[in-house]
């Protein structure tokens, strides 16, 4: 059976959900799954990865503050072990290192895959093109299949075994060096990772009114605030919150669009959400064509009532 190597991210002793999804995708395709990880606390996390589907976990030594050095080390491990595939979740780190690893392996890359399966030694891939307006079904002739997996698509594996922890090589010096991270506001969820996204558009009239959306997000408890390009370009919201073709692609359990018209470039970023709710005062707004549930109305009336109702339902448990 083909060995698949999966890059695993973790923080404070916990594996990132996105990495568990990637491990799950690998485990569904092969029993020979090897996790590869680095950084502070990697040793402790490694042993626990068996429950996520890894048979082995390779712990790299040294700091992961140079993406080129990290990628080179991972590529060496992949080659040495003769692995047939390398997977990572399409997190910001995954998206940065995977193309480097592919280049070292003289292989192409399949980005943001929404489907991944194996048949013997070959793999079948599904991934969006043109911001999801098309879905491409692909096969690979690359020496090693290198792919990043879209978040919120694959299901984590739930096993009972422990992974065998193996010491890996140490990460060398690179040409780029991380100097620091300016973290987003404490506790704020990233739109591409949050299970619920509440997004606002020009219909909210002015930046201060996003407070209404922040309140709704807090009422849900596990929601991130998103935005249309119009309000990002106007400087009301940071680009990190933009959803759409030139922003982030999200597929949360629930996407709530408030005062967003639903331009094709916005829809491209959120159309694969499980449930879509639209709140817009124009019954003809194109957003209603993709919404499962719509409310025709003024955001300033609907939002406070909705926030209250959500808080009540959540309190009732």
């Amino acid at each position: 059976m083909a060995q698949i190597i999966v890059f695993v991210e973790h923080a404070e002793g916990k594996v990132r959900r996105a990495s568990l999804e990637a491990l799950g995708a690998a485990r569904a395709a092969s029993e020979e799954v090897t996790a590869i990880l680095c950084g502070e606390g990697a040793g402790e996390v490694a042993g626990k990865l068996g429950t996520g589907g890894a048979k082995q976990a390779v712990v790299l030594e040294g700091a992961a503050d140079s993406p080129d050095a990290l990628a080179k080390t991972i590529a060496e491990v992949v080659s040495e072990r003769g692995a047939k595939a390398f997977l990572t979740s399409a997190t910001s780190t995954g998206r940065d290192i995977a193309p480097r690893i592919a280049a070292h392996l003289d292989s192409t890359i399949f980005s943001e895959c929404t489907g991944f399966s194996s048949a013997g030694d070959s793999f079948a891939i599904r991934r969006p093109w043109l911001a999801g307006k098309l879905i491409a079904n692909l096969t690979s002739k690359a020496p090693v299949l290198v792919a990043t997996l879209r978040r919120n698509v694959f299901t984590p594996f739930e096993g009972k075994d422990t992974a065998e922890v193996v010491d890996g090589p140490s990460i060398g010096e690179g040409k780029t060096k991380l100097l620091g991270i300016e973290a987003v506001e404490g506790g704020k969820l990233d739109v591409s990772e949050a299970p619920i996204v509440v997004s606002g558009g020009r219909g909210l009239k002015e930046p201060g009114n996003f407070e209404l959306l922040e309140k709704l997000a807090r009422a849900f408890g596990n929601a991130a605030v998103g935005a249309s390009r119009a309000v990002v370009d106007a400087g009301w919201r940071p680009h990190a919150e933009q959803v759409g073709q030139t922003g982030k692609t999200v597929s949360p359990q629930l996407y709530v669009a408030v005062g967003i018209s639903g331009a094709i470039q916005h829809l491209a970023g959120m159309k694969t959400s499980k449930v879509i709710v639209a709140i817009n005062k124009d019954p003809e707004a194109p957003i209603f064509k993709v919404a499962d549930y719509g409310i025709v109305g003024d955001a300033f009336e609907v939002l406070p009532a909705l926030t209250e109702a959500v808080a009540r339902v959540r309190a009732e448990g």
Partner: protein, 249 residues
């Protein structure tokens, strides 16, 4: 400083694509433009030239018609354009594109290469980073702030957890994210001047794809939704639907 901006001719973002033969994009009626992020790459190249001196070359693998996108970059202030002609440029995979760009860039020589974060057709978001590795250049991806000084520079990249700051050495590849700058428009004078600027055209070397398209699909349409009501009064119906029907609350 020798600066190269890589640009790609892609369908406009408002395209509603149609499929032919089950695995190709129907080219009828498709309008093309320079990929959104590549316009940012061109602007970044021009700004670095304005601050540090040097020459900007725009490079593309594309059809003869891509002269239009190259001329647009020349009109904005690039000095030189290179077209590697390939009518099937959109069917190339990330590896074949990056390899071909690498060979040309090695031939041209470069201190700084700017690419888009992603080309908005195949959405690989990989060619710039792969190219850097193949060239053995430093690379920071998804860059929203860039500062070049002598032998290296600093860049901030948009990451999941916030903004990451990196130092890097030159030569380097920088892939440009939306917040990096606001691309200028070409003025009339620039457009006139561009007509006289050098645009080298040659046939693109053959290169095989490792990614093979078996089938293209359009995503399944979303199930028909419904308007649950009007105004604040509709909130209860919405909550009920989310709780009992969709079970997401």
């Amino acid at each position: 400083m020798k600066i190269i901006a890589c640009i790609k001719r892609v369908p406009t973002t408002d395209l509603e694509p149609k499929i032919v033969d089950g695995k190709s994009l129907d080219p009828t009626g498709v309008a093309f433009e320079t990929s959104f992020y590549d316009q940012i790459a061109v602007e970044a190249a021009l700004q670095v030239k304005e601050q540090h001196g040097g020459e900007v070359t725009v490079l593309t693998i594309g059809p003869k018609e891509a002269q239009k996108e190259l001329r647009d970059a020349l009109a904005k202030g690039a000095d030189h354009a290179v077209l590697l002609k390939d009518d099937r440029w959109m069917s190339r995979d990330a590896h074949s594109t990056a390899r071909t760009l690498q060979q040309k860039i090695q031939e041209l020589g470069a201190d700084l290469v700017l690419t888009g974060r992603v080309a908005t057709d195949r959405d690989n978001a990989s060619v710039g980073v792969m190219l850097a590795t193949l060239l053995d250049f430093a690379c920071v991806s998804d860059v929203v702030e860039l500062e070049i000084d002598g032998r290296g520079g600093k860049a901030r990249r948009e990451a999941d957890s916030g903004l990451e700051s990196y130092s890097f050495s030159l030569p380097a590849v920088i892939t440009c994210q939306k917040d990096l700058n606001e691309p200028r428009r070409a003025g009339l004078k620039g457009i006139m001047a561009a007509k006289k600027k050098p645009l080298d055209e040659s046939d693109c070397p053959e290169s095989s794809n490792q990614a093979e398209v078996c089938q293209l699909d359009t995503p399944p349409p979303r199930p028909q939704g419904r308007i649950v009501g009007e105004g604040a009064a509709a909130v209860e119906a919405l909550i009920d639907a989310l709780h009992n029907e969709a079970k997401v609350l």
